[in-house]
Amino acid sequence: MTVREPNQPEACLSLQSKLSEIAQLPSWIGELALRHAISKDVEFAINVCLEEAVSNVIRHGYGDGEEGMVTVHFAMPAPESFEFVVEDEAQHFNPLDAPTPDTRGTPRVGGQGVHFLRHFTEKLEYTMTPTGNRLTMIFAGADSGT
């Protein structure tokens, strides 16, 4: 089995640090889904997680008006394994530090995003890089929490 390193992506999407740029994600993900036979349910999960991850970088990592780039890399480290790596050059910020919301009481809307990342991914990993942050998400083709 050949394991592809994160620095050998099969596809890459670069976005400016504006929330409006997130609108490019669905069609990019859709093209990958067609090319790599990603099921509709997994494609949905990927959309949920990437929207959350990228919006977190823009809103919390870069903050108001700060310019920067958010790059999403795609690779398949193994058959039926879809890896998305979100990299930025923003201030160090680990989105996984947010507590998982307690859904037993009255739900609150804020903080749900990380909960989705944990639920829908097979593997979720944050790395602080010298210049910013890297969030790695792996979705399994067979069942990504779907």
Binding site: L19, A45, N47, E51, P107, V109, Q112, F116
Partner: protein
């Protein structure tokens, strides 16, 4: 995302959402839902044509639901697809905004 409303018997307002409830559409939906929720106490949100729901989209549903509930009213979600329903379940929102997959039970919940 397209939003249409229909007044049903019993003072129930049916809101039909059609499209993606994502970060791009959420603000507009939130604004329109607040307007709708501002004057109605029994709201059925038809989710059958909602193809995507992310965490930002949840806000467009929760805000109006809380407003309606604060006035003693009710809001329910109708017929989300499987993955949209999963998002509602994972987030726990379905404990606050009931989800129904049959129209008769959705309407009954509002009466």
């Amino acid at each position: 995302m397209a939003i249409t409303t229909e007044e049903l018997e019993g003072g129930i307002t049916k809101v039909v959402l059609d499209g993606r409830l994502d970060i791009e559409n959420a603000p507009a939906v939130d604004s329109q839902m607040k307007t709708i929720a501002g004057g109605r106490n029994s709201v059925l949100v038809d989710m059958s044509n909602v193809s995507f729901l992310g965490s930002m989209g949840l806000r467009a549903l929760v805000g109006p639901a809380l407003a309606i509930r604060g006035r003693g009213g009710k809001m329910v979600l109708f017929a989300p697809n499987e993955m949209v329903a999963k998002v509602l379940k994972i987030s726990g929102i379905e404990t606050m905004i009931p989800v129904h997959h049959e129209m008769n039970t959705a309407l009954a919940a509002l009466l």
